[in-house]
């Protein structure tokens, strides 16, 4: 028996979705406003998108952010897979408790603390070993990879838990050995989770303002740093246009990805149901095909 939602709950639910979406929708509409003033609608125009393409500061910051996010996400994913393998496959290994504490605390560490602490470390290391000399893109990548790998590990671990060990055992019985088994069997099977982990680490890095602000040097401003400095001065139509492009790009990819996942899971469920039902289905099918 399915009960209808009580009306106060329905109102709260609708309001909740409204809070998540109304600000963004209004911003998207106003990014096409030809007036610089937010309060006046002066007609449809795409001139702010044109202005955006001319803005070298933003384009340069975008390039840096993309490079940082791709590098950090790649390091995060490699290390995240290692952490997940250790937790799921190695049982009670020697540094399990230490690794588990170190890999889960960054998930809940306040960004200001992470940023400040890494900056102090980089400065201390520079004093001791002369590396990293100054702060810039490299230090941002290291900072982002550090918390990214912890998120990546969570995503990969979940997939690795329901991994069917029998296929690996079969490979081992046939004489395959470890790195080979991992690269030819384990990795392809967990690939969707690895991709998801990479995308999550990429997004976290691409959106990060606070940590990057601490560990960036002069001339290494990422996109969120540039956006933040502009937003502080007020709402501008150029940023509306930029935000619209970024949000719509993400929305398009998330919706596409969900459609693919939804479709795959439905096909798989049907296939499972058919195998479970076994011969009956084929019998029914044969009967129908006979006139």
């Amino acid at each position: 028996m399915r009960r209808p939602l009580a009306w106060p709950a329905l109102i709260l639910g609708v309001l909740g979705f409204g809070i998540l979406y109304v600000p963004v929708i209004v911003m998207i509409i106003y990014s096409f406003n030809s007036s610089r003033l937010v309060s006046v609608w002066a007609g449809f125009s795409t001139k702010w998108y044109g202005a955006l393409l001319q803005n070298e500061q933003i384009l340069e910051a975008l390039g840096k952010s993309l490079w940082v996010a791709v590098s950090a996400a790649t390091i995060s994913t490699v290390f995240g897979v290692l952490i997940a393998l250790a937790f799921v496959r190695f049982g009670n290994f020697r540094f399990r408790l230490a690794l588990s504490a170190l890999a889960s605390t960054p998930l809940v560490m306040p960004e200001v603390v992470t940023g400040l602490s890494l900056l102090l470390l980089f400065i201390g290391m520079e004093g001791l070993f002369g590396w990293p000399s100054g702060r810039g893109i490299d230090t941002i990548i290291i900072a982002h990879a550090t918390f990214g790998m912890c998120f990546a590990a969570v995503v990969v671990q979940a997939r690795l838990r329901d991994f069917d060990m029998s296929i690996e055992e079969a490979a081992a019985d046939l004489g395959a050995r470890q790195p080979y088994i991992f690269f030819s069997i384990t990795l392809p099977v967990i690939a969707p989770a690895v991709v998801a982990a990479w995308l999550l680490a990429f997004t976290l890095s691409f959106d990060d303002l606070v940590i990057a602000s601490f560990v960036s040097g002069p001339g290494s401003s990422t996109l969120p740093i540039v956006i933040f400095s502009k937003v502080r001065l007020g709402v501008t139509p150029e940023i509306n246009a930029l935000a619209t492009i970024m949000i719509l790009l993400v929305a398009a990819s998330v919706v596409t990805a969900s459609l693919i996942i939804y479709h795959n899971s439905r096909t798989r469920r049907r296939a499972l149901e058919q195998t479970a039902a076994g011969d009956e289905i084929t019998v029914v099918g044969q009967k129908e095909s006979q006139p």
Binding site: G16, M27, S39, L82, T114, M149, F228
Partner: protein, 317 residues
Amino acid sequence: MMGQTTWLQRNGRRIVVALPLIWLIVFFFLPLIEVAQTSFTMPRRGIPPFEPLWGFGKDGFFTNFNLENYALLLEYWQDYLGPAGNSIRLALFSTIICLVFAYPMAWWIARSDPRQRAMLLVLVMLPFWTSSLLRIYALIGLLNPNGFINTMLLFLGVIDAPLRMMQTDFSIYMGMLLTYLPLMILPLYATMIRLDDDLLDAAADLGAGRVAVFRTVVLPLTMPGIIAGSLLVFIPAVGEFVIPALLGGPDQMMIGKVLWTEFFRSRDWPVASALAVLLLIILAVPIIYARYQDGRTTALDQQYDEAQQNDIKPGAA
């Protein structure tokens, strides 16, 4: 068929554990030690802008340990401990407000048919994947004195003068909702989707009203989701920087913003470090509790999955 094992094969496991362990010790654990150390040093002009805590000078080993920065936090308590208290208050109310909206939303999603459920889940996940900085920026366009809401209300004649919504507790709560609502919905949804309809029917058949069913069946069974979601919102909300910086005024000072100002404006790194230590002390209890709770729910999840598998296994039939 036993060939020679390579060095990589013999030490594979060690490498798998050692690489991330060393990385996290160097880039996560050591930095925290560094913060704790710096909070006991004195500021100076120069690079870095603080005295070394210990080292080797002309007269051999020396230490410069002092509690001056913590004394400063106490002496100017309105400037430091005040915002810390404010952070706890704002984060606590934000958590409650998120829960009030998220609970019916999660229930709605969990109770709808699979096709609609998939769509609603995407609607919840979408903001999670988009930059919170940009979404907060979008909110400013709505709440500004000359923003969308005021323009509309003035145009419709509902109000005569613009409402002051920015730089109030209201704008902070709106920002927190915008940022953290999905984090509250997802764990709630995870507990509600497992809720057995038969339990609700049984309670109703035995004469329980809607309120009684909720209080005695639904609420206790969704409690793990409530706790998990609340921790996911409360912990980052206490240390939040972007929301008080862009949406808050002087009355909405939060510890994350004070730390930022001390670091970037005043360039007083020792005091900033002392504030970081204070923030960690505030968060120590919820963080440890979250880890404990997380371990428990993972164990419960595994039990649940095993139970499910055992039920479904055709061998049992």
